[in-house]
C-alpha cells in the first residue's frame, strides 16, 4: 500500500467509468440545472449555448436583489422563539386574566393580572372580592414592575457566594437539627402573614421543632388597636370597619384613606358615602383632627389641627362630651378645646349607630377610649363589625422588641427572615443587625439583597407573588387565592416552599395550599359537590366567602368596656415638649419595601406633590419664625438620631409639628431606590408599641445648603378661577343643584350668549361611538392609583428626579391638588389658607371636540377620530411642540430625550434592560425622542373592545371598555364610556348631571372637551373655614 495511491470514487458511476458520468465529469454541477432546462424547452445536447442567458441572468439577479433588499429592510428579529405546540390558553395578541392576591406589608388586595404571551403586564382590582370590591392602590398596581426587577436575586447564596438549593438545604437542615437538638431557639420573623396555609405550615413546623418561634411585626402597626380591644373585650383583634354606613366620621390622626389599617377597602366604602347626585342629595360628614396634612384630611369636611401629644386628650375630650350627653361617667383629662370637636360630638350623637370614630394612635389606652366612644355611639355591629377581624396587620410589637433583644443577647441560635427586612424597617434594626451575627443560623428569603439579606448566612430568595401559589384571609370569612401568572424567572423558590424544605419535607407548597383548602375551607354542604370544581371556581374568582358566626371569639361585654375606661384614661400620658415629630407613611412608597420601584418613586405625593425624596415637612408659621425656606437642608434630631433632609413648607400642618416619611434612605434596595432620602425608622419609639409620634426631645437645626425637591406642581392654589374648579357646600347644593357652578357668557352683537352658541367650527359627527369621561371631584381622594395604572398601561417612561425638577415628568394623567386661599387678590391668591380646603382634579387629555392642538400641527400628526378621540400619530410627529403650547390644559408630554435604552436615564427600569422591558404593554408603542405624546383614552383598549364585539357580531357593551385610570380608581370617581349609548353609565350620569353638577373645565374657550367634571360638594355649613 506504500506506493499505492488512495482513490476515492464519487460513486459506482465513476468506478465503472459510466459514459453518462464521463460526459459531465469535468463540470462542477453534473446535475441538470433548472435554468438551462427550462430554456426554450430545448434538449441539453442541442447546439444552443448552455450558459445562463441574459433573461435568466436578469431573473436571477432580480430575485437576489429583491431577496437581499427584503432581508435588509426587515428589522432583525431577536430572540423570537416559535411555539412548537401552541399552549392551549395562549393566543398571541390576546390577553389572559388571572385572579390572584397581593398581600404585602399590611396591604391586601384581590387582583386580576393581565398576561400577554405569558407575561404579566398589568394588575387591576378584582371586583368579585367582598373585601376590596375592585379597589386598588398605587403600590399594588406597580408591583408588576418588581417582577422584572433586574436587581432581584437569581438563586440561593451562602454568605454572599452563589450556591445551589441542594447544598443550601443540606446545610440549613443540618444546622436546624443541631440547634433544635441542643434545645436552642429559632426565630421565624415575618411581617403579618395573612395566609392561613402559611400560618398552618408554620404551626406544623413549630410542632416539629418546638424551639421555633413565629414573630410577626408590622411597619404600620395596629398593635395598639388589638391591645385596646383586648382591654375592652378580652380579645385582641382589629375589627372590620365600614365607612360606607357612617353618616358622621370622626378621625383623629387616622389616615384611613392612605395608610390606616386597610385603606384600599376603606377608600371604596368612604366614596359611597361621599357621592351625591340627582337622587341622593346627602353625604357623610367627615371631621378630621390631625397633625400633618394627610390625604384623608384633604377629603374631610372639617379639619382641625392638633399636635400629636394632644391626640389622647382629644379622644378623652370627645369621650367626655359624649359621656356627658348620654349620661355616662367621664374620665379624667380631656380639658383642651379643639376646633370642631363640639360640633363633631353633637353630630355623632345625632347619627348614633351610623357614625364611626377612628384614631391612628398605636397606644392601647387611646384605642380603648375610642372603643368606649364607639360603644356609646352604638356603632358596634353597625359600622364596626367585630366578627370579621381584619388580619392584614396582626404584628406584635412587644414580641418583636423581645426578639430584637433576644437576638442581640444570643438567645436565638437561629433566625429566619421570611420576606421581611427588619434591619431596615424596624426601629431596633441596628440591634437586629448586630444580633444576626451572633446567630448560628441566619436565613433571609428576601427577593433582593436587602439590608437584612446582606447580613445573613443564607439567602433563599423567594418568588415574586406573581410567580407563587398562596392564599390569604384578609378578614375572617374572606378567603382569597394567589396563583402564579408566569414561570419563575430565576432559580428562586417560594419562601413557603423553602420552609417545607427546612422542615425536611418534599411536598410542594401548591399541594399544601390545595390540601389546606380541601380540609379547612371547602365545605361540601354549601359549595360545589366536588373539591376540584370548588377549587377551580375559587381559582377563577380569586376569592371565596364563608359565613362567620357573629359572636365568634368574644362577647361584647359592657362591663368590661366601662371598667377599662378609667384605667385607660389614666394610662395616657403623652406630654409634648417643644417641637414634635410625626413619622408617617408616604402614600406611594409605603414601608420602603418597594422603594426600588421607579413608577412609585416618580408618582408624586398626593398632598405635597413631591417625588423622589422624603423631606421634613414644616408648618408655615414655624418656617416663617425660623427663617426656613423650601428646599433648605435641615438637621432633625430625635431619639438621639439625626437626619439631614430638605424642608417642605406645608400649609395646613399644625404649628410646632414636623413630619418625615419613612420608607426612604434605603441602602440595599436596588439601583433605583438606594440613597433616596433618609431613613427615619430608628427615630421611632419602640417601648413595646412602635410609636411614630415623637413628642419630646425633637430638635431642628439649619444645615448648610439646599436640596431642590422634585415637585410636579409648584403653584398650589387655583387662584379663584371658577372656570377651573367649581365647588359648593351640601346645603347650597340641596337648595340649588347649580350651586357653585359658573356660566361664562360671551358678548356678541346680539347680546351675551353661552360659548357653545358661537363657534368657528362646524363640529364633528359621531355616528357610532362617542367616548367620554366624567370625573367626580367629590369622590376623588387624590390617591394617584390612576397615575400608576396609566404608567403601566401606556408604557410611560420614568424620567428621574432631575427631569421632574425640570418639570418634564411624562405622566399622561396628573392629579392637580389645589388649596383654597383666603385672598382673592390676584397675587395674594397664590398664598394658601392657614388650614386650606383641598380639591383634587385628575387632569388628562380632555379629548376636545374643537381641539386647539389639532389645528396647529403643521403635519397633521394629531387628528380627530370619528369617535371623538383626539389622536396622536407618533410616527408623523416632527416635534414642534406647538400643540403642547396651545393646549389649554397642558396635558401633552414631549419626549425631550430618548428615554428608553439610555444610560442617561438609569431609573427607567421598565425600558432600559431586557428583563424590565417584559413589563411593556405590547399594544402601545414606546415613543421615540422628539415626538409628542399624550393620553389617548387608552385607544388600544377601545380598539380591542370594538374588535371583540365585532368578532362576536354584536355592539360594544357598556363597561366592557374602560380606561386604565377609570379601572384603577378606588373611589370610582372616573367613569368612562360611550356617550352615544343612552344606556351607558356615563350617559346616565351625564343626563342626570348635565343640568346640575357637570361642567367642562375652561368652558369659555369652547374647546368642547369630552371630559366633564362634577362639582365638588363639601358637607359643611359654609365654605372656607376660619
Amino acid at each position: 500500500m506504500k506506493e499505492g495511491k488512495k482513490v476515492y470514487w464519487q460513486g459506482l458511476e465513476q468506478l465503472n467509468q459510466d459514459p453518462e458520468f464521463l460526459k459531465y465529469a469535468d463540470k462542477e454541477f453534473p446535475e441538470y440545472l433548472p435554468v438551462k432546462e427550462q430554456k426554450n424547452g430545448q434538449p441539453e445536447d442541442s447546439n444552443v449555448d448552455l450558459g445562463t442567458d441574459r433573461r435568466d441572468f436578469l431573473k436571477l439577479m432580480g430575485f437576489s436583489v429583491a431577496a437581499a433588499s427584503l432581508a435588509a429592510c426587515e428589522a432583525p428579529v431577536r430572540k423570537a422563539i416559535p411555539y412548537l405546540n401552541k399552549p392551549t390558553d395562549v393566543d398571541p395578541g390576546v390577553a389572559n386574566y388571572y385572579a390572584s392576591t397581593y398581600s404585602q406589608d399590611g396591604d391586601y388586595c384581590s387582583v386580576l393580572v393581565k398576561t400577554r404571551e405569558g407575561r404579566p403586564i398589568f394588575i387591576k382590582g378584582n371586583k368579585m372580592s367582598d373585601v376590596t370590591q375592585g379597589s386598588i392602590n398605587s403600590r399594588v398596581i406597580a408591583s408588576v414592575l418588581d417582577l422584572y426587577n433586574k436587581d432581584r436575586l437569581t438563586g440561593p447564596k451562602t454568605k454572599g457566594q452563589d450556591s445551589d438549593w441542594k447544598t443550601v438545604d443540606a446545610e440549613i437542615n443540618q444546622k436546624i437539627s443541631s440547634i433544635t437538638n441542643s434545645g436552642g431557639k429559632i426565630a421565624l420573623v415575618s411581617k403579618s402573614v395573612t395566609s392561613p396555609s402559611t400560618l398552618n405550615l408554620i404551626s406544623e413546623i413549630q410542632e416539629q421543632y418546638p424551639g421555633v418561634e413565629h414573630i410577626q411585626y408590622d411597619v404600620n402597626s395596629n398593635y395598639g388597636i388589638r391591645k385596646g380591644n383586648e382591654m375592652s373585650f378580652g380579645v385582641g383583634f382589629v375589627p372590620a370597619y365600614d365607612f360606607s354606613k357612617a353618616k358622621t366620621i370622626v378621625s383623629i390622626n387616622a389616615d384611613f384613606l392612605g395608610s390606616w389599617v386597610s385603606p384600599i377597602e376603606y377608600s371604596r366604602q368612604y366614596a359611597q358615602g361621599r357621592k351625591v347626585g340627582k337622587s341622593k342629595k346627602k353625604m357623610s360628614r367627615h371631621f378630621q383632627l390631625e397633625s400633618l396634612f394627610t390625604m384623608t384630611g384633604a377629603s374631610a369636611d372639617y379639619r382641625s389641627k392638633i399636635r400629636p401629644s394632644e391626640e389622647g386628650d382629644v379622644v378623652k375630650a370627645l369621650y367626655n362630651m359624649l359621656a356627658a350627653k348620654t349620661g355616662g361617667a367621664s374620665v379624667s383629662g380631656g380639658d383642651g378645646s379643639y376646633n370642631y370637636l363640639d360640633q363633631a360630638a353633637d353630630e355623632l350623637l345625632r347619627s348614633k349607630g351610623k357614625s364611626l370614630v377612628v384614631c391612628g394612635s398605636n397606644d392601647p389606652n387611646v384605642q380603648t377610649l375610642v372603643n368606649g366612644i364607639n360603644y356609646m355611639l352604638e356603632n358596634y355591629g353597625q359600622t364596626i363589625d367585630p366578627s370579621k377581624g381584619n388580619t392584614s396587620r396582626q404584628g406584635d410589637d412587644r414580641r418583636m422588641v423581645d426578639f430584637a433583644n433576644g437576638l442581640s443577647s444570643g438567645e436565638y441560635k437561629g433566625v429566619v427572615f421570611l420576606n421581611c427586612n427588619p434591619v431596615y424597617d424596624h426601629p431596633l434594626g441596628g440591634k437586629i443587625k448586630e444580633g444576626i451575627k451572633k446567630a448560628l443560623l441566619s436565613i433571609s428569603t428576601a427577593m433582593v439583597s436587602d439590608e437584612t439579606a446582606v447580613e445573613v448566612q443564607y439567602n433563599c430568595p423567594s418568588h415574586h407573588f406573581l410567580e407563587s401559589w398562596n392564599d390569604s384571609m384578609p378578614r375572617k370569612g374572606s378567603y382569597s387565592l394567589a396563583q402564579p401568572t408566569i414561570n419563575p424567572l430565576f432559580n428562586t423558590r417560594q419562601a413557603e416552599e423553602s420552609l417545607l424544605r427546612f422542615a425536611g419535607r418534599d411536598d410542594s407548597y401548591y399541594d399544601y395550599v390545595r390540601n389546606y383548602w380541601k380540609e379547612n375551607v371547602y365545605n361540601a354542604e354549601t359549595a360545589e359537590k366536588s373539591f376540584d370544581l370548588f377549587w377551580d371556581r375559587c381559582l377563577h374568582d380569586g376569592v371565596h366567602e364563608v359565613e362567620t358566626p357573629s359572636e365568634e371569639g368574644f362577647d361584647m361585654v359592657p362591663v368590661l368596656i366601662s371598667e377599662s375606661m378609667g384605667t385607660a384614661a389614666s394610662g395616657i400620658s403623652a406630654e409634648g415638649q417643644g417641637m414634635e415629630l410625626v413619622i408617617y407613611e408616604s402614600h406611594n412608597i409605603g414601608s420602603g419595601e418597594m422603594a426600588n420601584n421607579p413608577w412609585l418613586q416618580e408618582t408624586p405625593d398626593p398632598i405635597s406633590k413631591v417625588c423622589w425624596d422624603n423631606y421634613i415637612s414644616i408648618s408655615v408659621p414655624d418656617a416663617k419664625e425660623q427663617g426656613i425656606n423650601q428646599d433648605d437642608l435641615l438637621t432633625l434630631t430625635a431619639s438621639g438620631k439625626s437626619v439631614t433632609l430638605p424642608a417642605l413648607i406645608q400649609p395646613g400642618q399644625t404649628a410646632g409639628v414636623l413630619g418625615v416619611a419613612y420608607g426612604y434612605g434605603r441602602t440595599n434596595s436596588g439601583k433605583v431606590g438606594d440613597g433616596i432620602g433618609a431613613n427615619v425608622y430608628p427615630m421611632a419609639g419602640s417601648d413595646g408599641y412602635v410609636n411614630y409620634s415623637i413628642t419630646k426631645g425633637v430638635s431642628l437645626a439649619k444645615a448648610t445648603g439646599t436640596r431642590k425637591l422634585a415637585q410636579t406642581q409648584t403653584h398650589h392654589t387655583y387662584m379663584g378661577r371658577d372656570f377651573v374648579i367649581q365647588e359648593t357646600t351640601l346645603n347650597e347644593y340641596k337648595k340649588d343643584a347649580w350651586a357653585g357652578r359658573s356660566f361664562p357668557k360671551i358678548s356678541t352683537y346680539d347680546g351675551k350668549t353661552a360659548p357653545k352658541n358661537i363657534s368657528l367650527w362646524k363640529g364633528h359627527k359621531y355616528p357610532n361611538h362617542h367616548w367620554g369621561m366624567v370625573v367626580d371631584l367629590n369622590s376623588c381622594t387624590g390617591c394617584s392609583a390612576c397615575i400608576v395604572s396609566c404608567n403601566s398601561e401606556n408604557n410611560i417612561p420614568v424620567v428621574g428626579r432631575d427631569e421632574v425638577i425640570n418639570r418634564r415628568e411624562m405622566h399622561w394623567l396628573r392629579v392637580d391638588r389645589y388649596y383654597s386661599s383666603d385672598s382673592d387678590h390676584w397675587q395674594g391668591g397664590e398664598v394658601p389658607s392657614d388650614n386650606p380646603e383641598v380639591v383634587f382634579q385628575p387632569m388628562m387629555c380632555q379629548q376636545c371636540n374643537n381641539a386647539p392642538c389639532e389645528t396647529v400641527c403643521p403635519v397633521a400628526a394629531t387628528t380627530h377620530s370619528t369617535e371623538g378621540l383626539n389622536q396622536m400619530a407618533y410616527n408623523r410627529c416632527i416635534g414642534t411642540r406647538y400643540c403642547a403650547n396651545n393646549c389649554p390644559y397642558k396635558v401633552r408630554r414631549f419626549n425631550w430625550f430618548k428615554y428608553h435604552d439610555n444610560r442617561q436615564f438609569p431609573d427607567n427600569l421598565g425600558m432600559n434592560n431586557d428583563l424590565g422591558k417584559m413589563v411593556l404593554n405590547p399594544d402601545v408603542t414606546v415613543r421615540s425622542r422628539g415626538v409628542m405624546e399624550k393620553c389617548t383614552f387608552c385607544v388600544q383598549r377601545v380598539q380591542e373592545g370594538k374588535l371583540t364585539a365585532k368578532k362576536e357580531g354584536r355592539k360594544v357593551k357598556d363597561g366592557e371598555i374602560t380606561t386604565a385610570c377609570a379601572e384603577a380608581c378606588p373611589t370610582e370617581a372616573l367613569v368612562f364610556g360611550d356617550m352615544n349609548d343612552p344606556k351607558s353609565r356615563i350617559s346616565e350620569v351625564l343626563s342626570s348631571e348635565n343640568k346640575e353638577r357637570a361642567f367642562h373645565a375652561l368652558e369659555a374657550i369652547r374647546v368642547a372637551p369630552n371630559v366633564s367634571y362634577l362639582t365638588k360638594v363639601r358637607n359643611k355649613e359654609k365654605s372656607n373655614q376660619a
Binding site: 406642581q713 409648584t714 403653584h715 398650589h716 392654589t717 387655583y718 387662584m719 378661577r721 372656570f723 377651573v724 427631569e803 425640570n806 418639570r807 418634564r808 415628568e809 396628573r814 392637580d816 391638588r817 389645589y818 390676584w826 397675587q827 382634579q841 387632569m843 386647539p852 389645528t855 396647529v856 400641527c857 403643521p858 403635519v859 397633521a860 408623523r876 410627529c877 416632527i878 416635534g879 414642534t880 411642540r881 406647538y882 403642547a884 403650547n885 396651545n886 389649554p888 390644559y889 397642558k890 401633552r892 408630554r893 414631549f894 419626549n895 425631550w896 430625550f897 442617561q904 421615540s928 425622542r929 422628539g930 415626538v931 409628542m932 373645565a1001 375652561l1002 369659555a1004 374657550i1005 374647546v1007
Partner: protein, 454 residues
Amino acid sequence: MSVVVSSVRTPLITGTKTLHDVSDDICRYVERPPSKSWMVAIALSLATLGFGVYCLYRTLWDGIGVWGLNKTVGWAWDITNFVWWVGIGHAGTLISAILLLFRQKWRMSINRAAEAMTIFAVICAATFPLIHMGRLWLGLYWVLPLPNTFGSLWVNFNSPLLWDVFAITTYFTVSLVFWYLGLIPDFATIRDRAKLPWRKKFYSALSFGWTGKARDWNHYETVALILAGLATPLVLSVHTIVSFDFATSVIPGWHTTIFPPYFVAGAIFSGFAMVLTLLIITRRVFHLENYITLYHMELMNIVIIVTGSIVGIAYITELFMAWYSGVEAEWYAFRNRALGPYWWAYFSMMTCNVVSPQLFWFKPIRRSIVSTFVLSIIVNIGMWFERFVIIVTSLHRDYLPSSWAMFTPTLYDVGDFLLTFGFFFTAFLLFAKFFPVINIAEVKTILKSDSQKS
C-alpha cells in the same frame, strides 16, 4: 467740478466726490488685502460660530431636552430668537423695496448692507424653527407639501407654522434675488477694475456677463421695480404671519388681534436699529462717512421713533384690552407679565423699546453717532425681550395654575443663539470684505441732487 451746496435739499453724499471717487472708495476695500481689524473680527465671529456649532451638535444629538424648556413652556429662546431675527430682516426689505417705490433716494447708500443683513438674518431666523423640531431629519421635508408615499398624508393648511414655512421661504427667495440683482452691476465694476486674474474671473462669474449696455440697465431697472413691488407686501405679510403663530392660539397673552400690526412695527423698529448698529461700524471701518452721513442716521432714527411709538401704543392697548375684555385669564396674563416673576423682562422691554427711543426727539441725540449706536443696541435688546415676554410669560402661567412653571435657560439655549450670532457676523464680515457694501451704481446717480447744478 465746482462745489455748490444746495439750500433746498441736503446733499446725500458729502465730500465733493466724483464718480470715480465713488468707485474707488467702495472698491478699495474689496481690492485691498484684509485689514488686521477685519482678521480679528472674523476670528472672533468664527470662534463664536464654532462654539455654536458644538452646542447645536449636542442639541441635535441628545435632544431638545438640553434646552431649558419644560412641559409648560414648550417654546422659549428658540422661537424668541426666530421672531427676533425675522424682525431684524425686515428693515432691509423696507429700505430696498418700499423706499424704492417711494423714491426715497437716501436709501441708496444703505440698502446694500441692509439687504445683506436681511439675507443673513433670515437664515439665522430659519435656523430656529428647524432646530427646535424634535425630529428635524423628518420635519425638514414633511413640512413641505410634497407628494409622498406615506399614503394620503399631507400638510395641515390650518397650521400657522405651515404658513410660516411659506412666508419665510418666499421672503428669503425674494430678498436673495433682489439683493443679488443689485449686486450685478457692481460686480461688473469690480471685474472691470480687477488686475489680478483670479479676481477678474471670480467677479466676472458673479456679474453674470453684465455689459453695462442701455438694454442691460433697462432690464435691470425694470426687474428691480418688479421685485420691489413683490417684496413690498412681504414687508407686511411675513411678520403678520409670524404673529399668527401666537394670535391664532388660545393661550392668554397670545390670543390677540393686535399682533399683526404690532409685530410689523416692531420688526421695522428692530430692523432699523440693527441696520444702524452695522452701518455705524461699517462706515467707520471703511471710511464711508461721506456716503453714510448723519442725515441718513437721522432719517433712520426718525423711523425708529415712529415705529417705537407704535410699539409702545400697542403695549398699552394690549394691557387695556386685557382689562377691558373682562376675561380673567387674559387680565391675569398681562398683570403677571408686568408684575409677576418675569417683571424684569417686561420692564427691560418697556424701557428699551418705549422709553429709550423717545430720546430721539432731541436733535443732538438723534444726530450723535455715539448715542445712536448705543440706543440701536438697546432697542435690539428690548425687542428680544419683547418676544421673550410674549412667548415665555404667556406660556408659563396660562389657564390651569397646577401647570404653572418657570423657564430657565441652559448653556445650550445660549449656545444655539450664539451660533446664529457667529454665523451672522461671519457672513456679514465676508460680505463687507468681498462684496461692495454700498451700491456703487445707484449712489452715482445721486451724487448730485436734483437741485444741484454741476
